[in-house]
Amino acid sequence: MTNENIQKKILELVPEATETANKQYPTFIIPAEKFHSLCEKIKQSEDLAFDYLFCLSGMDWGDSLGVVYHLFSTKHEHTVALKVKTADRNNPELDTICDIWKTADFLEREVFDLFGIKFRNHPDLRRIFLEENWNGHPLRKDYVDEINIVER
């Protein structure tokens, strides 16, 4: 499926979505409350069939926190990137998608570990790399650690 068709399909499913310029993949910003239902639809639909979540990365845009999802269809061999944002820095919450793509389980734990984004309905949301008693979330822009970090 061509990128224009993907854009059309996704805007059909979520009219509030906005496309952002990206050279490599068609990229959309999806409102957080519509994201989970969109994911279910684009996985099951015949002509999109995004069956493979190949990358899930946490982001800190300064004013908001969020996650970027990269999806691939092994059937049609097309790719899409979806962005979800939340403006609440103190208690950021997003819906989990690990019931749709199982691989998101560990990836969401990583995002939780390093960015502190909580995923609603995640079965086992614990830290994955850092120790259980670690304070804060080190990949956030406002993280301070006066002992270990040499600033430059």
Partner: protein, 189 residues
């Protein structure tokens, strides 16, 4: 001038002044002869520990493989157990989470034991020195280092040079004096 290493002249080495400093402690003729024999044996069979945490480890493997062939210097058998190893080559980044493991491995090695810090990460934290929350900035914060091999990662030749420096250092040691001092220290405890 004392320490001889096969196929490399004494003056071709750097850091000869440091080596001569060790000499100043002196020793008597009988003991130095026995020491010479012991050190000849020890310095030509330094067994490294199989320990590598990142890309420097690949260079260390290259140094051990056929083209560069570490074994010419006797640093040959990679031991899988710290109990049997003489030297630990810290090849790679040591994170804060890895640090206690490295310390334990060092503690488990039997005396006499030596440490080579290989590559920028092990020397100072390297590319992770600034703005990182997770990397130990120099392995000497955890264990004492004998030889530093700079590079990112160092070529196998650089590691070979580092090993030869360790051999020179080893040949200057008085093994008898060392073990005697240790026993004395033990009784005083």
């Amino acid at each position: 001038m004392g320490v001889k290493i096969k196929s490399m002249k004494y003056n071709d080495f750097k850091d000869n002044e440091d080596l001569e400093l060790i000499d100043k402690s002196g020793g008597n003729i009988l003991l130095t002869t026995i020491d010479g024999i012991l050190n000849w044996g020890r310095s030509n069979s330094i067994w490294p520990l199989t320990f590598a945490t990142s890309c420097c480890g690949i260079e260390m493997m290259a140094a051990g493989a056929a083209r560069h062939d570490f074994a010419r210097f006797g640093i040959e058998v990679y031991r899988a157990s710290p109990r049997q190893a003489d030297v630990i080559v810290v090849a790679g980044t040591i994170t804060n989470k890895m640090a206690p493991v490295l310390k334990r491995l060092y503690d488990q090695m039997s005396e006499p034991k030596y440490v080579i810090a290989m590559g920028a990460c092990a020397i100072s934290g390297g590319p992770f020195f600034y703005n990182s929350y997770h990397v130990v900035k120099g392995v000497e914060h955890i264990i004492p280092v004998d030889v530093y091999v700079p590079g990112c990662p160092p070529r196998p030749e650089a590691l070979l040079y580092g090993v030869m420096q360790l051999q020179r250092k080893l040949k200057k040691e008085s093994f008898i004096k060392r073990s005697f001092n240790k026993r004395k220290w033990k009784y005083e405890m």
